[in-house]
Amino acid sequence: MSSRRGLLLLLAFVVTAPRAAVAKAPDAAGGPTPEILVSRGLMRERGLSVGQVVMLSADARGAGARPFRIAGIYEPTPDPSRFTAKRLEARMHLPDLLALTADPGEAGAVDAVGAINIALKDPADASAFARELGARAPAVSVVRAAAGDDAHFVIIERFHVAISVVTMIGSTAFLLALMVIRADERREIAGLLRLLGLRRRRILLQALLEGLCIAAAGAVFGVLFAAVTQGAVNAFFQWRYDTTLAFLRVTPAIAARCVALALPLGVTAGLLASWTLLRRPVLDLLRR
């Protein structure tokens, strides 16, 4: 527990050494100053630069601080589950971290770690390996690292789907209202066409094609609008949260799903609206 906490503590507290003291900053053991990498966010937040020596401590009041030289800047791997948090982080060699955070009075503290990452030769063996290790070392928690199925995103996706369903119900009502209006506007024309001998099916087919065209045009416009604006949406959220994560991505699958939903909806709305009109007697359509 202490090692994991120590890492967090360490990253939360950074004191920059005065420039004048940089050249003289000694390591506790008298050796060369150990190097660290700092995250881009931390560098900007604290005005750090490569080559600068900073004092790090695991203690809130700075007790036992040690000098480290900034060897470089890195971009932390974007973590969607923590994108709202500032990534004020640093990376250092494990022995340096243990030396900095270990309690001198705690036996074995300099040889304790919070977690060990393991890459198997055959990833398919992961479950069997976890079972075996769990049996051999019961006090060790063995967790399989899985990518892409984080529960947070499954839930967020469900939420977005639910919102989409509600939006779709609202837009369907809107679409139906528009189609009813459109059908009503052409009530007399429909009556005339019927008088001229056109069958209901023929007029309905025309309404179907018209609905299909409107729905296709609307869906294509929607997809294009989303594709064009996705850059702006991503840029805003990336700026807001200082992350490289992509928040919005119009993929071909999403575009296809959108069109596949829009077309039947548009056609059905057109047919429904036309049918409510066409089932009336011809004279009624002509307001006679």
Partner: protein, 394 residues
Amino acid sequence: MSPLQFAWRSLSRQPARALLGLTGVAVVGALLFDMLMLSRGLIVSFRDLLESTGFDVRVTATEALPGMGPVVSEAAATVEALRRLPELAAVVPVRFGVAAVDARDKKTREVAIIGSETRRRGEWRLVQGADLAEDSAAGRPGMVVNRTFARDQGLGPGSIVRLASTLTPREFRVSGIVEFPFEAAGERMAGVTLNGFTRAFPSARRDEADLLLVASQPGVGAETAVSAIRRARPDLHAFSIDEVLERLRQAEFSYFRQVSFVLATIASFFALLLVTTLLTVSVNQRLGEVAALRALGFSRRRITFDLLAESALLVGGGGIVAVPLGLLLARVLDSILRQMPDLPSRLHFFVFEPRALAIHLAFLVLAALVAAAYPVILAARLPIAATLRKESIS
């Protein structure tokens, strides 16, 4: 006939259209109402959780969240120093840790352990058995466990909890089952005394605290208590509940606030577009009728009121239906979001507030007015004679 009655008749002539308009407004209105609830839901719900503990100030060593940054060292002396401040009624040190327990299926499971003093206020709620008592010198230290931990391990008052260890066994006697304010669904949690905590984590330093819970004196207020702590111990970071919430609002909760803002804007625009379209088409189809009414002596003002009333009926009717529909939808959406791991099970994303209802109504009134604007201009500028002539010829 009043404008409202006139508008009602006008809508009744096209029942399908009116019904679809109402449905559309109701659905987007419900979405708007939900987004208004979501915009502040987490903050309101989190405030309830924080206040339920009975402590209105949190003190940490740094600005980092408790458990995520350096600990408060020399905790005992710090607590004593703070307890001497007249503005403070109670100061309780808290420690956090994660231990492993051997589950009944022979696997190890994690359990979050909170080390604190015996309960002063609302640190937890006793559900069954006895509360945590001071540990006696001999015997196993006491422990209170939450319902999930009790159910998973088959624990009850008097049961023994054995933490997994390769060293000497670390055993605790369960005194009761409790509910922690911040426990997540499915999370195993336990509370022990500070002595019990060092027993659970022998390598943990004794005189440290992750967090100090502080209650201000009645009538003093959290802000005064925070100022007093900052004066007495400028090396510590004290936060009132308002400050904690403001920080969460700016960072951790900001995503849902922004999502709600975007969706509320879209919903409002959608409602506006829908009603404007319906009214504009309606007016366009009734140009002759409007011109005839003007010729009969109806003033522009009266026509304007008629159209405003029609807009109000559409938006108002949909808006009224939107409230129960929105509450129902909020329950569904809330139940989806609350499945997120590591969230306190008492935390809600959608919380009803009278403020949300007031803003919802204000939005709808605005939508009704703006939606009626264009049709009103069309009707008001209508040339009476020319329109009547055109209508009679056609």
